[in-house]
């Protein structure tokens, strides 16, 4: 029996491979170990070879959202891993309080946009990487901007931002009529989050794993206090701060919108809260607690960010190259007493209003909205589930059964061709009905008929 080449020998890269690079010797030795040879722990369809390595260096475009605690770590990790084309977007400027962990920034950078400085520093330290900064909000970018990237990595700090980007990315997702996602429309995301000693990393493959909306219901509600408690019987420093923030601001500074990023506004809240606390003999109001209560800021720790970002960067490498089996699908990290990590599966919500396939419904190309509703009512799949449905397309209410003012306004649409209302092609419609627990997503497919070229009208 012939031994396979190299079975007993320590592995070394082929000489031709080494000669191609102009980097310092051994720069990609670790990456090459993962990408240049087959193995038993690799992901499905893994193609070992320099093409894979060159793909992540030259062709794969990765977007990092956020250049803060997680963002700095992510940019460093991804650049050092070998990704050659990175872009970063962040709407914030650098603050002194960031410097304990956002290591790409220095005292002299305070006031500058985070994205700009982060990009500069990474390019200085990692030879050959290109990082393009964007100093703006993610809402300011068109969805076509996000479409240019193969993988999007999130280092965000709020539910709203995650919900927004999730809706954008899942909006690219399309399904075959049989309910399977079309692979070329899937844009994977890797989402990381940290809060003090705790953090998470998750992989979102739209159409296959749960999206952010699928598991939204698992988040605990935000802590809110009754307004009357704040007004009548404050007992904690947080009560005093919230009273000033929510009630006293409106009374004493009428007309001014409170801006949590304005230091003067925050200082005013702190001073008034301290006065109120003294009045009620409550201790503990500090400027940093004020920031915490008003902006929901929790003290951040460098190690948590490092651990979560490293996990995310590794998953990004796996998604891009299949060099190892990917995370399925959610990792929780706790560092309060020792170090604890737990990875678990969860299922996609088949009725998710953002990422689910939608029940396919075929209709004639010339059907009107009213006829479409009639088709739905007669469809046995929806028997007893809908009685007086309202229909909407992304961003537009086509027909609302209630309230009377909207019903009147949308009634003319009933007689219009559905295809025109949908912009000329099939797609997803949202159906609401009293009998439905949630929203019914329907994938409208217009029947194509052979057109006689002689009789086909113009346009």
């Amino acid at each position: 029996m012939k031994k396979r080449k190299g079975e007993d020998e320590p592995w070394a890269p082929e000489p031709e491979v080494m000669a191609e690079t102009t980097d310092i010797e051994g720069r990609w030795r670790d990456l090459d170990r993962l990408l240049l040879r087959p193995g038993i722990l690799v992901g499905p369809g893994f193609e070992p070879g320099i093409d894979t390595r060159d793909m992540i260096r030259n062709d794969c475009r990765v977007l990092v959202i956020g250049a803060g605690g997680l963002g700095c770590e992510l940019l460093k990790d991804l650049a050092l891993t070998g990704f050659g084309n990175l872009e970063v977007i962040d709407m914030d400027t650098i603050d002194v309080s960031n410097l304990n962990r956002q290591f790409l920034f220095r005292m002299r950078d305070v006031g500058q946009p985070k994205a700009k400085i982060a990009a500069e520093r990474v390019m200085e330290r990692v030879k050959g990487v290109n990082v393009v900064p964007h100093y703006c909000r993610i809402e300011d970018k068109d969805s076509s901007f996000f479409d240019q990237f193969q993988i999007i990595v999130l280092g965000l700090d709020s539910l709203e931002a995650r919900s927004y980007i999730n809706a954008v990315v899942c909006g690219f997702l399309e399904y075959e009529p049989d309910g399977s996602p079309i692979l070329t429309t899937i844009k994977p995301m890797v989402d990381g989050g940290t809060e003090g000693f705790k953090g998470h990393a998750r992989v979102i493959i739209p159409g296959m794993t749960p999206c952010f909306q699928c598991s939204m219901w698992l988040f605990p509600p935000q802590v809110t206090f009754p307004l009357c408690t704040l007004a009548e019987t404050p007992r904690s420093p947080a009560h005093c701060i919230e009273f000033v923030h929510l009630i006293q601001w409106g009374q004493d500074r009428t007309g001014e919108t409170f801006d949590p990023d304005n230091p003067e506004h925050m200082k005013w809240i702190y001073e008034q809260a301290a006065k109120r606390a003294e009045q009620y003999s409550i201790s503990g109001v500090t400027y940093s607690l004020t920031q915490g209560v008003v902006k929901n800021i929790i003290p951040a720790i460098a190690s948590t960010n490092a651990i979560v970002a490293a996990t995310c960067a590794l998953e990004t490498l796996k998604i891009a190259t299949m060099c190892s089996k990917g995370m399925e699908v959610f990792m929780q990290y706790t560092g309060t007493d020792g170090v604890y990590m737990r990875t678990f599966q969860n299922e996609k919500d088949p009725n998710c209003i953002v990422c689910s396939a939608g029940v396919p419904v075929e209709v004639e190309a010339t059907t009107t909205l009213q006829k479409f509703i009639d088709v739905l009512l007669k469809d046995s799949r929806f028997k007893n589930k809908i009685s007086k449905p309202s229909v909407s397309l992304q961003g537009e209410n086509l027909y609302m059964q209630a309230p009377p003012i909207l019903e009147e306004e949308t009634r003319p649409n009933l007689l219009r061709p559905l295809r025109t209302l949908m912009g000329g092609e099939g797609g997803i419609l949202n159906i609401n009905d009293k009998r439905l627990k949630g929203i019914l997503r329907v994938q409208v497919i217009f029947k194509t008929t052979d057109v006689d070229m002689d009789t086909a009208g113009g346009g």
Partner: protein, 181 residues
Amino acid sequence: MIKLFSVKQKQKEAAESANGRAPVKKQSPGELRVQKDISELNLAKTTSISFPNGKDNLLNFEITIRPDEGYYQGGTFVFTFQISQVYPHEAPKVKCKTKVYHPNIDLEGNVCLNILREDWNPVLSVNSIIYGLQYLFLDPNPDDPLNHEAAEVLRENPRQFENNVRRSMAGGYVGGPGAFK
């Protein structure tokens, strides 16, 4: 785990096919859910809804309540509703646009209603909030006050409270330390 990127396929080709997609206006999950709430609204004849930003912006609307019984009979009160992107994870922000002499509504329009704050849960809806607001006018609660003077008057002297409400709704002046016009 599924293979999404093939090294053999040059990214330029992928980019070309991707650019063909026209950007579509996105609806946030909050908007989708509030659409459901609004299409199922069960408004009493004392309540009406209006959409200052048009029929396609359901995130900001106004509810008008005209109580036909109780202390506030005959009055007209307008509430603004602001729905967030992550509704129903967060409660809607509701404020009273009309100046009202009420123990649970202050002069800036803040409304003290438990389901708007600590008792909100995602199973509730715009309908539930409207019921809660109507209830505030039928049964003002002096034990949870935002307007202390009004609460005190209601507790000590309901007849005086009734008169104060009548006077304030007619545009009169209701005196006291928190002078109400």
